[in-house]
Each structure stands twice: as C-alpha cells, then as structure tokens.
C-alpha cells in the first residue's frame, strides 16, 4: 500500500527557511511511523534527520509531532492515522537543530531544577527500603515517565514561557515528593511553588493527551498544587 508523508525539513547549512517535503513510499502492514521514517532514511533520502533508539516505546528518543499531535513515532501505527497524508514535524516549543532533531537542553534544564534524584538525610539503611503496596500505588503511574518530552512540548504555557518547569519536571517532582522513601519533599515543594512552577498550569490537558505512557499528568500537577496550598495556610 502506498502512503504519502509530508515531512518538515530544515538543514541549517543550506536552508534559510524550513519547508515541507513530500515522500510517497510503499508501506507494509503493521508499520509504525518510525518504520516509515527508517525506510525513507535508508532507501529514499539519506539526508533526513531524526532521533531513534529502542523502537519499543521505552527510550523516548523518537517523540515528534505526527498529524498535529506529539507522539512517539515507534508507538504510532500508520494504520491508526486515517487515510490522508501523514504530516511529521519536530516537537514544538524547542529550538530546531535539523529536521526532526530538536535541542532538548531547555527541557532537561527544567528537569534538573526539581532535583530528580533520591534525597536522604537520615543514615542509609543496611537493607533495601520496602514500600507498602499503598505507598507504591501513589507513585506507580508517575514513575512510568520515560522523559520523551512529548508533554512539556505540547503545553501552551511552556511555548509562551520556556522558563515554566513544564509537565515532565512537575511530574518528576511529584514522583519524589510522594515517595515514602524520599526526604527532599520540602525543598522540592519550595522550588516548584513558584510563578514559573506549579502555578503556570492552566489545566489545558495537552500533556495528558500527548503522553505515550497514558499518564494523567494534569491530575498529579493538581495534587501538587493542593499540597502547596495546604502547606501554606
């Protein structure tokens, strides 16, 4: 079956402006968008640049905008995209280096701000620290994040203000603040309880829609907002 792809192109060494290029290729049943990109890259146009690694939705490298919405190319079955031309663009809100390759630095800088690691002040226990199933349930979904950036770059608040921590960083903050083994909750809450933190979330739900791991990110940001308010007054 033949399918048309309309792909965002920008090569900084020769293009002054980005443009869209159409490719029509023969696809096989069961192909994902990543399979199609690989086919184009290997057999049609070797200059096409995009990130990929695991091709099994766990590394988060191939997040891009497919038919207007952020998704993982390796998770998106071409079959699910209707019958029209498939439009592929880089993630919005980040500087574009080349074609689908964006500069993820602003994203990871924001992540770093929330201290995305375990903080422990009391002496380290000799054995592993167990959690009850109830304690684990609190962070189970939030810990599924693969840091692909689909959520943060789908957020209009982040587009307008790249200093906004964004859904991914806030979700990471939630994951540690609500972890029964972590002791850095207070300092993290102080960092995110900021005009460029929690309070720039306007419940637009683009992050939740975009998340390839189906995490209800807005729900967790709201839980953090509630925690911040209850701590303050």
């Amino acid at each position: 079956m033949k399918r048309k792809f309309r792909i965002f192109r920008y090569q900084p060494d020769k293009d002054k402006k980005p443009y869209y290029k159409e490719y029509e290729i023969e696809i096989e049943d069961g192909w994902t968008v990543l399979d199609a990109l690989n086919h184009i890259h290997w057999y049609v146009d070797g200059t096409l640049a995009y990130r990929r690694a695991c091709r099994s939705e766990i590394c988060g490298s191939c997040a891009m905008r497919i038919n207007g919405k952020n998704r993982l190319a390796c998770k998106t079955q071409i079959k699910t995209l209707g019958s029209g031309t498939i439009k592929i663009e880089p993630l919005p809100g980040l500087p574009i280096i080349k074609d689908m390759v964006v500069d993820m630095d602003p994203f990871f800088r924001n992540l770093e701000k929330v201290k995305p690691y375990f903080i422990k002040y009391s002496p380290l226990p000799e054995e592993e620290q167990l959690q009850t199933p109830e304690e684990r349930d609190l962070i189970n979904e939030a810990a599924m994040c693969i840091l692909c950036g689909a959520c943060t770059t789908s957020c209009p608040s982040f587009w307008a203000n790249p200093d906004y921590l964004g859904p991914a960083a806030l979700l990471k903050a939630y994951r540690f603040i609500f972890d029964s083994r972590d002791e850095g909750g207070k300092e993290r809450l102080e960092i995110i309880n900021d005009r460029n933190g929690l309070w720039r979330c306007h419940a637009i739900f683009n992050c939740t829609e975009a998340c390839p791991k189906n995490i209800n990110i807005t729900h967790y940001i709201k839980k953090l907002q509630n925690l911040a308010v209850n701590n303050q007054f």
Partner: protein
C-alpha cells in the same frame, strides 16, 4: 538553530485546549463588557436625558444581538469555571472531558432558548 514559536495554532486541539481558549477569550470579553458597563452606568451622572439617549443607542438590534452573545459568554465562563474548580480542588482531572460536555450542554440549553427572551 531555528527559534521556537510562542504558539502553535496547528497543534491538534482536544477538548481541554478548546475549553482553555474559550475560557480565556470569554474572560477578556467579560472584562471589556465590564468597562462598557461602568461607562454606561456613569452616564447617570450626566443627568436623565444623557442616560436615556445612551440607553436608546444601546437598544438597537446590534446591541440586542451582542447582549445575547454576552449571556452566552457568561454561561460558558460560569459552567467551565465550575469544571475548573472541580479539577483544581476535587481531583476531577480524570473526568475533565465528561465535565466539559456537561458544562457545554448546560451552556447551550440555557443560551439558545434564551434567544426567544432577547429577540421577541
């Protein structure tokens, strides 16, 4: 490197983003209405004739239509506002889409039939 844009109108909008856009635009419209409202009320200070002539200017069909529109904006902003309060304080994020459609249905149910009150 290509600089990012501050808004991407072509990003696929789901219920949540539409609700946000309508809520924001509605909020702006309500603010403009309040300014107009203060101006109109202030005409009272200029005496009964001035006020009556202003009121007459405001009873043209165009303003009737705008008034009906205003009623719509108020309704949507109010019902979606309740949806947002539930999301913020009652942990209703999981039901945001259902809540939006309930708010939208209430808005239509009170807005469309109200045209009869405004125009007849």
């Amino acid at each position: 490197m290509l600089k990012p844009k501050w808004f991407y109108p072509s990003y696929r909008k789901d219920v949540g983003e539409w609700a946000w856009i309508l809520h924001r635009l509605g909020g702006l419209a309500l603010m403009l209405y309040l300014l107009l409202h203060i101006f109109v009320t202030n005409r009272l200070a200029a005496g009964p004739e001035a006020f009556n002539s202003t009121m007459k200017a405001l009873s043209t069909p165009t303003f009737k239509f705008l008034e009906w529109g205003l009623w719509g904006v108020i309704l949507f902003h109010a019902f979606n506002g309740i949806r947002l309060v539930l999301i913020d304080f009652a942990g209703a994020s999981k039901y945001q889409k259902t809540l939006f459609w309930i708010a939208f249905a209430l808005f239509l149910a009170l807005w469309i039939p109200a045209a009869w009150k405004f125009f007849l």
